[in-house]
Subunit: 340 residues, 2 copies
DNA sequence: TGCTGGCACTCCCGTCGGACGAGTGCCAAG
DNA sequence: CTTGGCACTCGTCCGACGGGAGTGCCAGCA
């Protein structure tokens, strides 16, 4: 009973099960794949695979279904990422090239990914903390209110209203603006905090509170993870996987409405730009125990700025999904890199 | 056979059906409601109501179910909006009061509405075209790129990158900014177009193309319906209504991902601030033929700036839903009005 | 004229039993 | 180590059946 054939059987089981969504038996296995042995032999292999915990049977004397561990082995050792066809690549570029600004790029990417994979797609905005400051603008709204606008080099724009407490005249606003600009433009957002800590120095006594308020809001904007936005698309695809996906669709839909959950799904492997596959219970989030999450980082230049990925049933077509995810990440990275 | 009693029967049928989700028969009707007559009498009334097209039976000799028209009559003549309890009102205010900016207000409103109604909630951003310009800012990104930021008095901020073609120096940018400000600040967005048409006059020959580019983008931002954003929450609630909702959940989920569809659902009665209920086929959108949409405008000051509402099964609890929708609209309006 | 009780009828739905078939595990032989 | 054979297990798919809920109609009564 060769190790090789056993793995070939596992691969065949995964492929068939993904294709048919039905437990697969020894007979149909030898029919659909040229394994060169009889059903009985396969049955022995299957028994072994079951002992190893890679497959399981839903009921006695039904076909076999891959377990989470089975998928794990399949992904790690038995499959390779399926590259996109030329036509698909072309479709991707032409679809993404029409974008006019960052929001548009993100929106298009996430919809594209949902379409390609027929699953739920997630795209995280380029992280604020990893990018640098391109510009800061202060706009006076009312005497005691200032709109603080922060523009990152990724094209991302954050805005925030500051209650200054005391009033700011145009002169003070101008001085504050230029001080801020000279301190932080070109700096990485992570470093902004230490660059502006003493910014209040050099301002008049009565001006300090207002300056402090602005700086505080700026730091909030920069530091807060909370603002790591994630876009979502393709929730309708949840319905296609019938009822047989563990529990039901509801908890998944609920979880997908929580930004925090999305970030956890995407964020746990922040720095890599290699494909990450989290299968079933490997997901930290409870309600995703019968789903798999495929993520990858995308880069601007040669720095990974955020993650994107898809959420689907554990019985997804991993090679294709991984191919699509990787392809979208690459083209998205290219667009971000080319458009300064 | 009095008209009054027939309508009382219709009301009872709607109420029971909404509560139980099962066809309601003459016997259980007289048990649960004090109609003062026998089942046989009710049956006669039911036959009449069926002739009028207000109720129907799923199968011969099953109970009756309200038709779209039946709900229509119920909403128009037999029900009144159920006001929120004091506790609920308090919860609403405390939930909304924590908001820090417009995005936050919108996000909280939509989630709140979804929770209150246990349905899918929609909230449209305050319309750009109905509000006035508070400020316009031009920020130079690269020599040939300018970030145009438009701030409306509703607190809404739109940003857009302008490719100017030729290069803009700081001087030109400054002149352009002040010209723009003097022309449009305080103007209604609808009027912006005519105020800036001739803005290029007074600029040098070589400056005109860049000015034109900025103006064009500004108009695009102002005019484009496309940018009427809608927030969405509570899609998980779609699953609770079981399978028995016409067709399935999928087309509804799909439609809800289209901004255009959301706008159509909300937008058809733009100007009123009175409750609008669209039942089943009354919805223009195909996939919503077994859902009802309850919308209402919300105002800033005394001007309706946008719509909000919920999408649910036709067999929803209309009085409560209408109460929740109206309440959220009022509190949202109050917040927008109080925070300038 | 309108309400009521009675009655026959329709049809949905849950249950039960049996036949079928897919699939398994084991064994003895090649 | 592989293979064919064989007995066995279950899940699933009918078809029949009975109960029950609900209806429509009718004749009698206020």
């Amino acid at each position: 009973m060769s190790e090789d054939r056993r793995l070939a059987v596992l691969r065949a089981i995964v492929e068939d099960y993904v294709a048919t969504h039905e437990p697969v038996g020894s007979r149909s296995l030898v029919e659909r794949h040229s394994l060169g042995v009889s059903p009985a032999t396969i049955r022995n292999d299957m028994a072994a695979l079951e002992d190893e915990g890679l497959i399981a049977q839903p009921h006695t004397s039904a076909g076999r279904v891959p377990t989470d561990q089975g998928y794990r082995v399949f992904v790690d050792r038995l499959s390779q990422v399926k590259p996109m066809s030329a036509a698909e690549r072309k479709a991707i570029t032409s679809f993404l090239d029409g974008a006019v600004d960052l929001d548009d790029v993100m929106a298009r990417s996430v919809r594209l990914l949902a379409q390609l994979t027929r699953q739920v797609a997630l795209v995280q905005y380029p992280s604020l903390t990893r990018s640098t400051v391109r510009h800061i603008e202060l706009v006076s709204l009312t005497p005691t209110r200032v709109l603080l606008i922060l523009i990152a080099d990724t094209g991302r724009v954050e805005q925030r209203v500051v209650e200054t407490g005391s009033s700011l005249d145009d002169d003070l606003l101008g001085r504050l603006r230029s001080r801020l600009l000279e301190r932080v433009v070109g700096q990485r957002l992570v470093d902004v905090a230490e660059r502006v800590g003493d910014l209040a120095e050099g301002f008049g006594r009565d001006e300090v509170p207002a300056v402090r308020a602005v700086v505080a809001t700026l730091l909030e904007t920069v530091v807060e993870r909370h603002e790591e936005r994630v876009m979502l698309a393709g929730t309708a695809n949840l319905t296609s996987y019938g009822e047989d996906w563990g529990g039901s669709v509801r908890p998944v839909l609920e979880a997908l409405e929580e930004q925090m959950v999305l970030l956890r799904l995407l964020g746990e492997s922040r720095t890599t730009d290699s494909l990450t596959v989290r299968i079933g219970h490997e997901n930290a989030v409870e309600s995703f125990s019968s789903t798999s999450v495929v993520t990858v980082g995308y880069a601007r230049g040669d720095e990974v700025v955020a993650q994107l990925g898809v959420v689907g049933p554990t019985r997804m077509d991993y090679p294709s999904t991984m191919g699509s995810v990787r392809a979208v990440a690459r083209y998205l990275g290219r667009i971000l890199t080319e458009n300064p």
